[in-house]
Symmetry: D2
Subunit: 260 residues, 4 copies
C-alpha cells in the first residue's frame, strides 16, 4: 500500500504513540528536543537520565548528587532476591537481558519500593509540619517505616556519605534542605534505628525534585548494574539450573496450614 | 478524528496485527473460526489448547494424551529454579501475575528446553534411520542427551505412566508409534540411563504431530500450574524479600577467577 | 564436603524452602501427597490445578465448572496488550517462554485484576447484604465496576454460557448460588451494563470457594494459552523487531504536558 | 535453631552463593573489595559499572568512552518494541519496575544482540586478518551484518560522534585502535551501508576490552533509561490497557498459512 494514502487514520495511529521524550525521523534522533549527537561525549549518564525524565538538564552539582545516589544502590549481594534470581536465570539458558529483566521484575513494593514510600513519608512530614504525628500514623499502618532500619546492618554504611553530600549541597544552596531536615527529625524520633540506603537516596531524590515514583525508577537503573554483574559472573561458572539449594541438600516436607 | 476517514492507512495498521488465531469484533469472539460460546462448557482445556495452536480440534484420545502430558510436568518443587524464583518474587511486593511471569521467564534452553530438543533428537533418529549414529553425533556436541537421565531421580516416576499411555494409543492406532519406538531405541543404547519426563512428554508431543518448539510452549502451560501454586502458598507465609539463603546464613567471599 | 556433616544448618536451609505443595525425593514426586504417577492419565488438567492450589481434588461437576472458566478466557486477540507484547517479543529474538512471560507480566491490576476485584465486590455485597450501597461505595472509589461492562462488546459473548453453567450447578446443589445471585443483583442495579467475562468467571471462582487473588492466578493460566498461540503464530511470520506501528507510519512529536 | 550449629552444611550453602562481585557483612558492603562508602560521591556511574564487571577501575579517558556509549543508546522512541511494551505495561496496572523489566526482556538476539554480534564480527576480522572473507562468511549465514545499516536511518546520527571519540582515544593511545580500523574496513567493503549505533558502540566496547556478551549487557543498562522515561510519561496519561492499535481501529481477520 502507498503510505501517502494513510490520511487521518495513519495520523491517529501515530498520535496514539506520540511522546515528548524523543523524536525519531530518518537520520534524526532528538531526546527532549536535543539532537543525540550533541549529547554523546558531552553529557554524562546522570545528566541524560535527568534530561529524559524531566525535559531539561540539571546543573553540575545536581547531576553529581543524582550520580552519587545511583552509585550507592548498585549491589547488595546474592542475599538480595533481585540479585539471586538473575544468577539463577542465567543458568537456565536464557539471554543476559532476560536474566536482568528477571531481577528487575522483583524490585516491587517490598524490595524496591522503600525509596518511593520514604519520599512520600518525607512529603507527609513537611506537609503536616508534624513529624511525630506522621510517624505515629505511618507506624499504625505498618511496622516498617520505609527508609529506616536494615535487617542486616545496624548502621547502613551508605547512609553517612550520602547525607554528607546532601548537607554540603544544602549548605551551598544547591538544594533547599527541607527533606534532609525532615528525615533527620524522623531518625531522632525512632532512635536508635538509623536511616538506610533507601532513606538516604530518597532524601536526595526528593531534594532534587523527583516525584516519589521515580525513586523506584531510579533505583531500578542503579540496581541493574549489580544484577548485570552477578548474572555475568554466574554465566562464567558453568552451572545448569541453579536452584536456591545446593543439590545435596534435601528439602523437607513441611505442613504449614494449607493456603486456603 | 473520524474513524471513517481511516482509509488505507487504517487498514494497513489492522493488517499489521492480523491473525488467524482469533477474530474479535463487537459482540463476537471466534477462536480459529469457532464462536467462543460454543466452546465454553463443551470443549476441554486440552482441546482448546490444541485448537488455538493448530486450527482444528483433536479426537478424544488425542486430547487425553495431550492432557496427560500437561499434567505430568506441573511441578518439581522449589529445587526447580522456576518454582523458587516465583516464591521469591511474591515476597518482594509484586503481583501474582508478575511472580508467575518471573518463573516462566526461566524456562529457557536449559531449564525448559529439553522437551523441544528431544523432539528434534527423535526426528533426527527417524530421518537418519540410525539411532546409534544419531546418539553419537548428539553426544559429541553435548554430554547431556535431552530427555534422558535426571540429576535427582535414578528413574523418573513420570516415565512409566506416560509411556504406558503412548503404547496404548499406538496399539489402538491413535498415534503411529514411530517416535516412541525411536525413544526406546535411544534408551537401550544409553542404558541404564532412562527417559525422563522431558523425554516421555516429547514422545507424546511428537506422536501427536506438534512441532518441536511447541514442546517447550506446552511445558510452559504445564509448569505454570506449579509456579502459581507455589507463589500462592508463599504469599500466605508473610515473608518479605525472601532470598535464597535463610537470613542467619552468611555468604562467604569466594574468589573464583574473575569473569574477564 | 560431606552432606552428612550438614546437621542443623542444612536442615534450616531445607526448612526455609519447605512446602506443602509437593514432595520431591529420589524417585518420588508427590503432589499434595498424591504420587504423580497416580495422576498422569487419570486426573484432568483442571482437577490437578485444583489439587495443587487447595490440597484436595474436586468433584466432577466442580472440575467441569473450573474448566469452563479456564476455557472462557484464553484469548481476546492482539487488541489485548498481553497478546500484542508476546507477539512483539518473539520477533526480538527471545525464547518462546520469554515471550509468554512478557505477556503474563502485563496481567496486572488493570488488565488481569478485574476478576479478583469482582470476587471482592461480590463478597462485599454478601457480607453487607446491601447490593445498592455496595455498588455506590465502589463507584465512589472508581468509575469502573470490576466485572461489568466492556469497552469493545455491548454484551460479552462469554457471559451467557458461563452463567448458564453456574445456574445449572446451583440448581443441582453443586454450588450454593449466593454469588451468582449477588452478581445478578448488581447487574440489575447498573442496567443496561452487563456482566463481562471477568464477572462471569469471578462468579464461578467464588462459587467454587477460591479466594479472590486466585481469580487472577487462574486467569493467568487461561490467558497463557492465547499468549502461546499468538507468539507461536508470529514466530512463523519472519518479522524482526515488530513494533506497534507498521514501519511506514511515522510517529508524530506530541507535546503533552511534561510528566513532572 | 542456633546458627552456630550450622557447620559444614551451612558453609556449603554459603559457598553455593559465593561471589567475587561484592561482600556483604553486618555494616560492611564492599564492591570488588572497595568499601561502598569510598565510592559514593567519588566514583562516577560508568566507573562503577566497569568496577563491578571487571574488578578494577578504569582510567578517566576509558570511563568517558564507556559513558559516551551508554549515553548513545538510551532511546529510539516507541517504534522500538522495548519502549512500546513498557508503555503498554504501565497502563495494565503493574509496577514501574515490572514495566521496565518487560522492556528489558525484549532486548534479545534480534533487538538487543547486534552489538554483541558485531564485537564477534570484529574479533573475527582481526583473528583472520581477512575482512572481505569474513564479511562473505557472515553474509552467507545471514543477510543482516550486525552493526551495519538501519531500517530507519540512511546514516545513523550516533555513528559520527561515537567514532570521533574512539579516533581521538586511539590517537592518544588510550585504546589500541585495531577494532575501529576493522570496523571501517568492513564499512568500506559494504559501502554505502554505514555503521549504526550497535556497530559504533561495539567498537568502543571491544576497544575497551569488554567481551562480546557484555555489549548486550551494557546496552541493557543504556536502554533502561529510555524505557523508564517512556513508562513514566505514559503513567501520567491515564490510559488503561493500551494496546498497539487505537481502540477505533478494527483488526482484520487474515488467513496466513496456519502455523503448523
Amino acid at each position: 500500500m502507498n503510505p501517502a494514502d494513510g490520511g487521518a487514520g495513519m495520523e491517529a495511529v501515530a498520535d496514539w504513540w506520540g511522546t515528548a521524550v524523543s523524536r525519531v525521523a530518518p537520520d534524526v534522533i532528538e531526546l527532549r528536543g536535543r539532537p543525540v549527537q550533541e549529547l554523546i561525549g558531552r553529557a554524562g549518564f546522570a545528566e541524560v537520565v535527568w534530561l529524559l525524565l524531566r525535559g531539561e538538564t540539571p546543573g553540575e552539582r545536581e547531576a553529581a548528587l543524582l550520580e552519587a545516589a545511583l552509585v550507592a544502590g548498585v549491589d547488595h549481594g546474592p542475599h538480595a532476591p533481585s540479585i539471586a534470581v538473575a544468577r539463577m536465570a542465567i543458568t537456565c539458558g536464557v539471554g543476559l537481558n532476560n536474566a536482568i529483566a528477571t531481577g528487575v521484575n522483583l524490585l516491587g513494593d517490598v524490595h524496591g519500593g522503600a525509596g518511593e514510600q520514604c519520599v512520600e513519608l518525607l512529603q507527609d512530614v513537611l506537609a503536616s509540619g508534624d513529624a511525630a504525628g506522621t510517624v505515629r500514623r505511618w507506624r499504625a499502618r505498618d511496622k516498617y517505616l520505609p527508609g529506616f532500619g536494615h535487617r542486616f546492618h545496624t548502621r547502613d554504611p551508605r547512609r553517612d556519605p550520602l547525607l554528607a553530600l546532601v548537607d554540603a549541597a544544602a549548605a551551598d544552596g544547591v538544594v533547599a534542605g527541607a527533606h534532609v531536615r525532615a528525615a533527620r527529625e524522623v531518625e531522632e524520633l525512632i532512635a536508635p534505628v538509623p536511616m538506610n540506603v533507601d532513606g538516604a537516596t530518597a532524601v536526595i531524590y526528593a531534594e532534587l525534585g523527583f516525584p516519589a515514583p521515580l525513586a523506584r525508577g531510579l533505583f531500578v537503573l542503579s540496581r541493574s548494574v549489580g544484577i548485570l554483574a552477578h548474572a555475568w559472573e554466574e554465566s562464567g561458572q558453568g552451572r545448569r539450573n541453579k536452584g536456591p539449594i545446593p543439590p545435596f541438600v534435601q528439602p523437607t516436607h513441611l505442613s504449614p496450614d494449607p493456603p486456603m
